[in-house]
């Protein structure tokens, strides 16, 4: 079992971030905006190409035979949607959670988590496409109970609200940095920062607006995210599986999403540390804290799946047995095993050791595995639910065979994920990293002090 206390007297390395001067933070934050590096450009080009491939695959696939109306052919579109919702969609939630805990270690991480939200438009577009293959609520299991225009309109509305909120959150949280870039980079010729930063001058009133805006948009984002994931889990998976009313599933789906949201943030941290010149900002303290949270969510992932399994195991009605078979044991057994290993076992056995969590490599490897596991798990869930021929039964009578993806399915999955990533990279053109205002605000609140024979850190806790 890992403890903070062991941490306390293991190494006494003090994070360098808090010894920097505000000027250095500004310089570091504006570095990429002044001159984007070659590795950045390369990554952008590769992911943009992937995105184009994904879009082509998305368009070509129905034309060359899969057809528009066949629900099963849309399996991988749904999987991509689910995967993106669980990664780019959930990372901003991690940012909000960090803000709630009010630790100072969060300051260099927040921006990275919010940044992923820039990819939200991709799952939104995918949902708009998917909505046409969803059955109407007549005669099927549904959360909407005959609401007007359900499920189509409301699914779209929820997703749209989430997307807008995600972009708004990113914008508001990085607005002060845009103002800094406006003044420092575009002093002579006004450009995009001047347009985006508006008249932000940093008056007390404006800071209050920023503080409140970040807090309210963040809270709203979490609420919308949880709501949307609940509805999506029910629309795309539960409603299509006859007899499946597992109430834990939307929660498990959301928790899996949050876990991989932290995972992509950790990966982004590792990437920025290695290639983004943010080594002074992202140190073991950040990896330690973020991976601890990821470990906790990994444990929750297991807990939620376990409760579902054990209830069905005890229930043993034909309805439940067929669901256990279709989701876990028969066609998609190996996919589930991979997801189980990546989403639960990997975080558990890698991250339970304090020493590993203190490092950089361990959390990064675990995070990569979690993302892989999430990708596989989405395929498992969507393949299972999208290949049920008759969703109007009381209970699933025939377990369909596994859905084997074609080339276009794979291209679509990889390509669209790459496309969302390209959007995230593009966002870096207007969003500074490291986030200048948040880190600078933290600089004042840490102090080193001699305490008799030792040196201690004082952490300020303004209310």
């Amino acid at each position: 079992m890992a403890t903070h206390a062991e941490h306390a007297h293991g190494h006494r390395r003090v994070q360098r971030t808090w010894d920097l001067t505000p000027q250095q933070v500004v310089t570091d934050g504006l570095q990429r905006i002044r001159a984007a590096g070659s590795s950045y450009r390369l990554a952008l080009i590769i992911s943009a190409i992937l995105g184009v491939i994904g879009v082509i695959a998305l368009i070509i696939r129905p034309i060359i035979g899969a057809g528009w109306g066949d629900r099963q052919a849309w399996t991988y579109v749904a999987a991509t949607f689910g995967f993106l919702m669980s990664t780019v969609g959930s990372a901003p939630c991690f940012s909000v959670a960090m803000r709630l805990t009010r630790g100072h270690w969060r300051r260099p991480v927040n921006r990275l988590a919010e940044l992923w939200g820039a990819g939200l438009i991709v799952p939104f577009i995918l949902l708009v496409l998917l909505i046409f293959v969803l059955p109407n609520t007549e005669g099927r299991q549904t959360l909407w109970f005959g609401w007007w225009a359900a499920p189509y309109l409301w699914d779209i509305v929820m997703m749209l609200a989430l997307t807008i909120c995600g972009y708004g959150f990113l914008y508001v949280a990085s607005l002060p940095d845009m103002a800094i870039a406006r003044d420092q980079v575009e002093r002579d010729r006004p450009g995009r920062f001047t347009r985006m930063a508006r008249g932000f001058r940093g008056t007390v009133y404006q800071w209050q607006i920023i503080d409140r805006g970040v807090a309210y948009l963040g809270a709203l984002y979490i609420l919308l995210y949880v709501g949307t994931m609940t509805v999506m889990a029910s629309e795309l998976i539960l409603a299509l599986l006859p007899g499946d009313n597992s109430a834990i599933f939307p929660a498990a789906y959301t928790v899996a999403g949050l876990e991989s949201g932290i995972a992509v943030t950790i990966i982004a941290m590792a990437v920025f540390r290695r290639w983004g010149g943010a080594g002074e900002y992202l140190e073991s303290e950040q990896f330690f804290a973020a991976s601890k949270l990821m470990l906790a969510l990994g444990l929750l992932w297991f807990y939620f799946h376990w409760t579902e399994f054990v209830i069905w195991w005890y229930g043993r009605t034909p309805r439940e047995l067929s669901l256990l078979k279709v989701l876990y044991f028969e066609p998609y057994f190996w996919l589930f095993v991979i997801a189980f290993a990546c989403m639960f076992l990997a975080p558990l056995f890698v991250l339970v050791w304090t020493r590993i969590r203190m490092g950089i490599a361990g959390p990064t490897v675990a995070a990569c595995l979690v993302v892989v596991g999430q990708a596989v798990d989405q395929v498992r869930l969507m393949s299972a639910s999208f290949s049920i021929p008759n969703i109007y039964e009381k209970e699933l009578s025939i377990i369909p065979n596994a859905y084997i993806p074609g080339v276009f399915d794979i291209l679509l999955y990889v390509g669209l994920a790459g496309g969302a990533f390209a959007l995230v990279l593009l966002a870096l053109k207007v969003v500074a990293y490291p986030s200048i205002w948040e880190i600078t605000a933290g600089l004042w609140l840490r102090a080193r002090k001699q305490y008799y024979k030792t040196e201690v850190t004082l952490i300020g806790k303004p209310n």
């Binding site: 206390a5 306390a8 109430a247 209830i311 005890y314 004082l458 303004p462």
Partner: protein, 457 residues
């Protein structure tokens, strides 16, 4: 945090030990009132032992009633202790210091109280006692591990043992403080309990590390306990009980009611023991913020449970959901759940001003537990009334006077145990409070003095 001020150490010790040495008038009144209710409790329990379960209002489909509801409720309250002390220890939240002991002790006593209920509730309690300990191994009949009722005692006993040990370990330094300041039988008691603790650096280090270790382990137990309690219901095939979400839903509900109960207890301690300078508004503020998150998560799980019961539109579930939503008294209970459990307290807690008002916090926390008691009743009892298509056998359930007495008595039991505890041991950890003083510092930022805490890394 402006109200945090440095107090001299001997004053802290004196203040925090006051309940142990001084019994106020209110304290006596509380003892007498609680003792009276407790007598009724003992009488009711004896009556039920003598005559059998027939004295309750239970009947054929409704084989479980008030006592099981109350069991779930007290198990829920017991989840506060570890929620507060484990999570706050792990996150090193500074405001945990005055709260942990009360929360853990409440865990201990509410668990003990909770356990009496399934025991009394069985048809042959003497055989139940025999089943639990010592098990009659000589007959070669072992418990059926497939039964949730075997998992349940194992989980509750684990939790109780763990809690007692956890409380004991964190109390050793306080025993030492008491040992050095007491005479007579008390001195003997504290001397034995303190185990010769001297406050060596190494002992303090162990104290700190064990705080984290035990917190992490207790957190794992804590999640399992209420999950298993929920599985007592969810493993059955009863419509609406047989729900996959019940385990986490019960856990988060337990945290909601338990943390609220800690708020109630804190307010009472502040009032009864005059701990005004230790249980400060900032502590209520922090707990209030925690409760907003916990309460909202609970609401989400509540909604999941309700919506996905209706999801399949299965007539078997719909009948019971119909009863729950529209039939007396469940419609009233539902109103309690919504209004008292969430829609009054949580919006109030959104405002800092109210979070820092002890009276408001006290009453809202009471409200939450009214709502949460109703929730347990609402969840458990209707599930049995209208099972499947046998409308010939559908019956409602009404608790008998004995059951009501037992339920009221259980509150008195926990109250009395807590009061007795505070007469023997300090209800706020003295050493933890002293440590908090030593680890407090200040940072000057411009004209503002920001309170700070010392971290060793």
């Amino acid at each position: 945090m402006q109200e945090r001020h440095h107090l001299p150490e001997d004053q802290i010790i004196r203040d925090l030990l006051r309940p142990v040495v001084y019994t106020s008038t209110m304290n006596w009144v509380a003892f007498i009132v609680l003792g009276g209710v407790l007598t009724a409790f003992v009488f009711a329990a004896g009556w039920m032992f003598y005559w059998g379960v027939g004295v309750t209002g239970l009947n054929r489909p409704n084989m479980w009633g008030f006592m099981i509801v109350n069991f779930v409720f007290w198990i829920g309250i017991s989840h506060a202790g570890v929620m507060i002390s484990a999570i706050l220890r792990l996150t090193q939240a500074e405001w945990r210091r005055p709260v942990t002991r009360a929360a853990e002790v409440m865990t201990m006593f509410s668990l003990m109280t909770a356990m009496t209920f399934p025991f009394m509730h069985t048809g042959r309690p003497w055989r139940t006692a025999y089943f639990v300990f010592p098990y009659d191994f000589w007959r070669g009949i072992w418990p059926d591990v497939r039964s949730a009722l075997v998992m349940d005692p194992s989980a509750v006993f684990t939790y109780l043992t763990g809690t007692i040990l956890f409380v004991f370990v964190t109390m050793i330094p306080d025993f030492a403080i008491l040992r050095d300041r007491s005479t007579g039988w008390r001195h003997g008691l504290y001397r034995v309990l303190a185990l010769g603790f001297r406050g060596q650096e190494r002992q303090w280090k162990m104290q700190t590390i064990s705080g984290f270790l035990l917190a992490a382990i207790m957190l794992s137990i804590f999640v399992s306990v209420h999950s298993i309690v929920s599985w007592d219901f969810a493993f059955s095939l009863d419509p609406v009980w047989h729900s996959t979400v019940w385990a986490p839903y019960f856990v988060i509900g337990a945290v909601h009611s338990g943390v609220s109960a800690v708020v109630t207890l804190m307010a009472l301690m502040r009032w009864l023991f005059k701990f005004d300078s230790y249980l400060r508004p900032e502590h209520f503020d922090a707990i209030g913020r925690l409760l907003v998150v916990v309460g909202s998560a609970w609401m989400w799980f509540f909604m999941l449970d309700v919506f996905f019961d209706l999801f399949r539109q299965d007539p078997v579930d719909l009948v019971i959901m119909n009863t729950r939503f529209f039939a007396w008294p469940y419609v009233l209970l539902l109103a309690f759940i919504f209004i008292f459990g969430y829609f009054i307290p949580v919006p109030i807690w959104l405002f800092r001003r109210f979070r820092r008002n002890i009276k408001v916090m006290f009453w809202t926390s009471i409200m939450v537990n009214v709502g949460m008691w109703s929730e347990r009743y609402w969840l458990v009892v209707p599930g049995l009334q209208q099972k499947y298509q046998w409308s010939f056998d559908w019956t409602s359930y009404r608790p008998g006077p004995i059951e009501v007495t037992l339920i009221i008595g259980s509150f008195a039991l926990v109250g009395t145990l807590l009061l007795v505890f505070s007469k023997l041991f300090p209800p706020i950890p003295v050493w933890d409070e002293l440590e908090g003083q030593r680890f407090a510092g200040e940072i000057q930022v411009g004209k503002r003095t920001v309170p700070a805490i010392v971290r060793e890394f």
